[in-house]
């Protein structure tokens, strides 16, 4: 892969006088100049509201916005651009399916199957829906190695109308066998929603090949701006869904007595959308395609192998998850040092890692670790940064050990 680091301005900054070592990519990715410039250019040259203007700026903004939709559609291999609904983030995408589809088509007692490794964004919407309409939630267990327990998938699927699970774990690194689960789910007539927040920057995504019905992801984790994400859905399903937010642009006509809805994706994009952000997402997928998602995947594999060799050399370090199919996300604990202290100490060395429950409290309970440290890499990280991490972990250990007894 060509040298991509200089594409990311922030990577040349320092923190506490040390070069920034950004290992918090699972929380959010950094942005290449191409994306930053796309925003800048938009506001300096074409900013206008979309869809309803017949003047040059509005037409240009609309064209750019819809062009971004086409780019995102191509990026995930959607059948058509209209299968892409722009949302704020993965969370909104998942909630949109809960509101627009599940609330309409599920009834009391229907089972929604989730997994124990889900991010809160794929648990809480279902709690809310359960409390409102009485669906039943069931959870696939997680094995000790961080893979999903699929040993009795058929039993787990009994009575299930919807399976919703993550493509890749933001804690364990595990990449789940989407196709296998989707096929089994479809065999019992269930629909399949995939949380692609972590999957989408780690590998080429082909929603058709994955065999799911919806796929949600966040732009900010994909080198794009904050405030934008996408929900891909099979068009027939989007068509069957109720609107979620009401307002401008999502209607066909409004009378005082009632309203009729526009076709998807407009139906789900009420109000002035995140225009510059969608355009920024388009620029991000252009950028990623210019590198190649297969190359990115290969780079991730190299970094992962290196990290898996180095991290266990730190005494007292316990990695969570050892799935054979995994991305460059490493949650761990270090004996005697709380993850928050570790994160704060590493920051002194310019190293950004995350500490806490990573929005996956049930998974933390499953592994008996309410909080862990997490180093998560992206294709623009380099092995030297893993070395820096290991050195810093050693240093932290020493500092805390010196006090002990």
């Amino acid at each position: 892969m060509r040298d991509v680091r200089r594409d990311f301005p922030i990577l040349s900054r320092t923190v506490h006088g040390k070069p920034l070592v950004y290992l918090d990519n699972a929380a959010t990715s950094q942005k290449p100049t191409a994306v930053i410039d796309a925003l800048d250019r938009y506001y300096r040259e074409t900013n206008a509201n979309v869809h309803r203007g017949l003047h040059t700026l509005s037409e240009a903004a609309t064209a750019a916005y819809e062009d971004a939709r086409r780019k995102v559609a191509r990026f995930v291999h959607a059948a058509r651009p209209e299968e892409i609904v722009f949302v704020r983030n993965t969370t909104e995408g998942l909630n949109l399916v809960a509101h627009g589809w599940a609330r309409k088509f599920l009834k009391a007692g229907d089972v929604v199957l989730l997994t124990e490794m889900e991010h809160h964004s794929n648990i809480v919407p279902w709690h809310i829906l359960r409390d409102q309409i009485g669906i039943t939630l069931r959870f696939l267990r997680v094995n000790d190695d961080g893979t999903l327990d699929l040993s009795d998938l058929d039993a787990a699927l009994e009575g299930v109308k919807l399976v919703s699970f993550m493509h890749a774990s933001n804690v364990l690194g595990t990449i789940n066998p989407v196709r296998q689960i989707a096929d089994a789910a479809h065999a019992v007539g269930a629909k399949v929603l995939v949380d692609g927040a972590q999957g989408v920057l780690q590998m080429p995504v082909d929603v058709g090949a994955l065999g799911c019905d919806w796929y949600a992801f966040s732009g900010h984790k994909l080198c794009a701006p904050t405030g934008i994400g996408a929900l891909w859905g099979r068009y027939e399903l989007l068509e069957a869904m109720d609107p979620f937010l009401g307002g401008g642009d999502m209607i066909e006509s409004v009378r005082l007595e009632g309203s009729t809805w526009a076709e998807p994706p407009a139906r789900f994009e009420a109000g002035t959308p995140a225009i510059s952000e969608a355009i920024g997402l388009g620029a991000a997928v252009d950028y990623l395609c210019s590198i190649g998602m297969a190359e990115i995947q290969a780079e991730d594999a190299t970094l992962t192998a290196y990290a898996l060799e180095k991290l266990p050399q730190v005494p007292g370090l316990r990695l969570l998850g050892s799935a054979p199919q995994r991305g460059p996300v490493f949650a761990f604990t270090l004996a005697g040092i709380h993850p928050h202290d570790l994160s704060a100490l590493l920051d002194e060395d310019g190293i950004a890692i995350r500490a806490g429950h990573h929005c996956a409290q049930p998974l933390g309970r499953r592994f008996g670790v309410p909080a862990s440290a997490r180093a998560s890499l992206a294709f623009y990280n380099v092995p030297e940064e893993i070395d820096a991490l290991v050195t810093a972990l050693m240093g932290a250990r020493e500092m805390f050990a010196n006090v002990r007894s």
Partner: protein, 139 residues
């Protein structure tokens, strides 16, 4: 000031061997408190008799700062009246947030001075005290 300086020896020592931690079977009051943003949690229990904090114990999961704060807090407050404890709470809060002088009875907690430079960590130092506040409100 660097983060390293925040972790004074005494803090690390308390964090590694916290005082008065554990269950309190005869507790008259127990409260649970969590920092939602980081997941730190404490269960603080007290035996309150005639307005006196006869005993305090806690079970906690948290960083060195929050653990050391709980350890030093309980050590300083056991045996105090609720009124005195409330004054200590006020003093500690003011110490952290308004950088005022700490009440001499909280002497050891002075070690947490460095936390004031790290706004994100102030809530760690306050967690046990917020639990205490709820105990004080009760009964």
């Amino acid at each position: 000031m660097s983060v390293r300086d925040m972790y004074r020896e005494v803090i690390l020592a308390h964090a590694q061997d916290p005082l008065h931690s554990g269950k309190l079977p005869d507790a008259t009051d127990c409260v649970h408190r969590e920092n939602t943003s980081c997941g730190d949690a404490i269960d603080l229990c007290a035996i309150v008799k005639d307005g006196v904090l006869v005993d305090l114990r806690y079970e906690s999961a948290g960083c060195a700062i929050s653990t050391a704060s709980a350890s030093m807090m309980t050590d300083a407050l056991i045996g105090m009246t609720k009124a005195d404890a409330a004054a200590m709470l006020a003093s500690f809060r003011a110490f952290l947030i308004e950088h005022s002088e700490l009440d001499p009875k909280l002497e050891e907690l002075d070690a947490l001075e460095g936390v004031r430079q790290f706004p994100a960590r102030i809530k760690c130092a306050l967690l046990a005290w917020q639990a205490l506040e709820e105990i004080l409100k009760k009964t």
